[in-house]
Symmetry: D2
Subunit: 345 residues, 4 copies
């Protein structure tokens, strides 16, 4: 079977990781990436010997690339013309403009969380609603927090039924290397309910979700506390919850006693594993955070914001291109190529 | 009526504020404070002209104070001999040793949250269990987070009944000026359930409480999100909760739209108010954080960790000395002398 | 003698402190302050009972103030019409626009560091070039870092002669309560030479100055290391430098052994002193940072960025209004009313 | 020729990187690593399939490793018995104890900066004093800051002569994943002169060095500003300095305009390059920080604290084992195997 040809628009934090993730899929071909300026990410690509072809979007100044000796493979239109599907990780709002080009070229696309939901036919999560993405032209991925959150809630829901969740998002405010959106010695409130709770209800409409988001001045992963109520008052026990989490390929159950003291431990561990960029595809879930609150279950997860949406985006390719027709098959193929779940017994 | 004579042991972050708070009470006399070494706090006291007499605890080297020209009024035993009640804000564990001296001298004492519960006859909160402290010899105050948390939960409970709370504590890890317990670019987990939830149940035994605590690298106030369930499934609406919070003298309802963007805004506002040290006795509560989760109510509060326990400690003096016999009267007197609630309409 | 009538435009971090500082001067009258919107600072002013009259600048929506019950004394033009001199601490660039109004009304003005030098007749520092400001209509103050830096370099220069300085500014990136210009887990470089070094040369043209500025994610005071070379190769010894610093009213010599471990200690100490807002007018200078580098002298100072320019701005009023005709007399009056130098032996 | 057999004691931040670095050397064999407990680093080693054999130091509880299924190759004595030279990156002070074992076994060793100088025969830096290490039994590496600093000063010195340096170290206070030595919203002073300046003089005794160190709450690399004076007053121009830095294999000249805004940019770039753990062996040096101060030259460098000492430690093996007899040959071999300098034109 011919490999599915994939392009990536926007070679930033997410775009770099999408490209790397697609390049690992045995049944996909990364045709190239497109960007605007010789950013550090592009300079690093050059220093690595251009493993991916670079195309320039409209407005790019090719002479800047020429001056640096960075080879350019063509225009954005050239890239679109060679692919079956585009992964659009452009800055928020640009994706909607790019969609016009995709439509014109008859190319499918998957947008990231920064775009409005209306850009897409379906708001997508690989585990929660894979089948809704089947054959669709335009998908939008849930944002990083929502993607990780839904992994855990969907798992509980499929096993025991979930009717209601209340979350507290302790949000990392910037990525390592960001200078423009920092926060210094402050916890910053967002108006409730958080959009992540609202988004969860779009994907899982049978769940009542709300929550509060607080920004914190750190860079290595969001932490979310989740209080989940079973359907019809059914109690979910600590042991039941733990069993479900341990069985999920994209959830890594960790503990403080093992040395996972916080979000920075997961980043350190991923670096020590030798994962490229110190990334981790799994969310972390602290077993020693799981407590019962009456019939409800409470727990804390860690969201590696830079990489967590990569697997679900690749699931999206599989759904949109009808490469696999069920969530079980689609996510399993993604996991296999990304090496997810290998550490599970 | 003779004024109640009060001493303060340990002139640190809490001790300084206890001394200032007692000095404002028209029916109390601050006899003096006791400490071990010429810390910055003692040096500042000296530079201010020694508004409070200084006594030295065992182990202090008086020559250090002499060399700096800091007058010493006597020994710790001297201070104990002159007071009706001691407020003990010594480092954790020292209070238990001091208690032997208090017992010997027949002097009552109130300990801060760092001591074990067993040091005291009653674990005390001015609003939640004032009457339990009446005439008692040894009280222990709830810790800063628990004190502020209980203010809000007790208020809801008295108005509508509360059966269950699940909290997420986003803890500031150090005070301004601390260098020894910092955290840098990390969110650190504590094992659940948090001791604050457990402590709440000690004070309010009819409430089922649990929660998760995460340390964050900031200094200006903890933020706690609270999910409270009404008794017997009674729904507590957003409007009901807001009304109760607005009526509480020690809760300041604020909003993001007014400019209270986070914990640092409350600190800035207290500085701009001209409050000594930029302190605030009230907890902040964001009106735009209050959301309904099914029949439950969720909201976020800000705990000014350096000063929040001062009013409840002074309530404790009133209870232990039987100065006022009801929580309404006791807390009202404390509030009047501290200027709490003046800003309420 | 009639008091000099002073107005303040812009009631932000600097404006609030200018107003408070002027209100302490026995020979000045604070007529009022002007601002645009009901910020937290204005709300705090209201909660304090409006110690200062509030005037509204063009573009303000009076109905917002009415709705909050905040009394308005008049328009910006009204304020300008009642004063001899305006202190303009508007956001950068607004001062230049306001100057047109000041010129029309024949009112003098002092601008803060955010404006361009061209807005003023003289770039001013109370200790370094007081006489240049005598009788001038428009002064511009040096920025916070430059103001504190010049205090120390001018002191060395007058005592022993300074020909050259090389500085490293370890800049706090935001004030407590700022959310919009933060930095998270990063040290950010500025292109060298830093503008503070260039500005120093404008005020002290006989000194060759350069330096490097690095932003750091903290809020309580910049730290600057200074390497100063004596004139004609004259060695400045550690003892000589220390003697000069100890004699300066606006320099507070501190040490690590006393407990001044860093910038946060100075803030804590000012809070414990009971200084309004925890402010300090003096720069800190660590005696245990002073080291000789060949014939050069190296030391580190702490700049309390929120309050450090207040004394020199008030010096500027004295110079512009010819209240005192020499730097010695002008700065001494400012110091007396602000209580600066009281702690010196 | 037989490969030099190397062991690593202490598999922490430095030890992991030493092991990886040695494993890349074509003329060395990494025999194994030794540690005490199943830390996250050891768990990651296990999850990676044990690329290196693990030996247990005295006091280790083997049953902990057995319970986790982590294979153990033997005791610390077993490891020492199989190697020619040990790289000791144990916690500070432990290396001195280990030395007794090394001496008994007749094995050479290289200690890291945490040990006292007296542990070793020579205090070593690959570029500055390679020849002093030739054939020696016990070397001690300079600390991370000193290693990077000396690279730049030695380069200037060899080209133009350096007589004096004055440095300001803006120190990152913790590594990513550290929780125990953090600092929150504070800049912390150390008593001057900094030990790094003193250490530089030990290695380069003809240079007069002093400096001030300030701790900052960040994790991604120290920044040092250096003011260097030429010998006999010779002026070093900006162009001369830049030429020398650009020619040095272990110095990466970067600029703000390229996007290297601060220390976090270098970490991000190393991650994007695909470097294991996001490490970089080179120090960064900002071309737009280089300024002339009279006849002196000032510039700023970035020290990647986790990895910067790895190349010089491997140089140390080459010197101690007499693998290459000159600094040019020794450092060139290290560079070749580590891929250092490839990006240079």
């Amino acid at each position: 079977m011919a490999k599915i040809r994939v392009g990536v628009a926007g070679y930033g934090t997410i775009g770099q990781r999408l490209a790397d993730g697609v390049a690992l899929q045995g049944d996909m071909e990364l045709v190239g990436i497109a960007d605007l300026a010789p950013t550090l990410a592009i300079r690093a690509l050059h220093e690595k010997g251009m493993p991916y072809d670079l195309y320039l979007v409209d407005g790019a100044d090719k002479s800047q690339f020429d001056a640096l000796g960075i080879p350019v493979a063509g225009t954005f239109a050239d890239l679109i013309g060679k692919v079956d599907i585009m992964l659009d990780s452009s800055p928020g709002g640009v994706g909607a403009k790019n969609k016009v080009l995709y439509e014109k070229a008859g190319v499918k696309a998957i947008f990231q969380g920064g775009e409005k939901n209306s850009v897409a036919d379906v708001f997508f999560h690989g585990y929660a609603n894979y089948e809704k993405g089947l054959g669709q032209n335009y998908l939008k991925l849930t944002s990083c927090n929502t993607t990780g959150l839904i992994r855990s809630v969907d798992a509980l829901d499929r096993a025991y039924g979930v009717s209601k969740v209340a979350i507290t998002i302790i949000r990392r405010v910037a990525d390592p290397g960001d200078y423009h959106r920092g926060l210094t010695n402050a916890l910053q409130m967002e108006k409730a309910p958080s959009h992540q709770a609202v988004d969860l209800m779009t994907i899982m409409p049978h769940v009542d979700a709300t929550g509060i988001l607080v920004h914190t001045p750190v860079t290595h992963g969001h932490i979310i506390t989740v209080l989940a109520s079973g359907r019809d008052g059914r109690k979910i026990t600590r042991e039941e919850a733990l069993a479900v989490f341990q069985a999920h390929p994209r959830i890594r159950v960790v503990s403080i006693d093992e040395g996972f003291k916080g979000n920075a431990s997961l980043f350190k561990y991923a670096r020590d594993l030798g994962n490229p960029r110190g990334d981790m595809y799994e969310i972390g879930l602290w077993s020693d955070s799981i407590v019962e609150s009456g019939n409800d279950i409470m727990y804390a997860i860690n969201i590696p914001q830079e990489s967590v949406t990569i697997p679900e985006t690749i699931d999206g390719i599989r759904a949109a291109m009808r490469m696999q027709l069920t969530r079980e098959e689609g996510t399993a193929e993604t996991n296999r190529y990304l090496g997810i779940g290998k550490f599970k017994k």
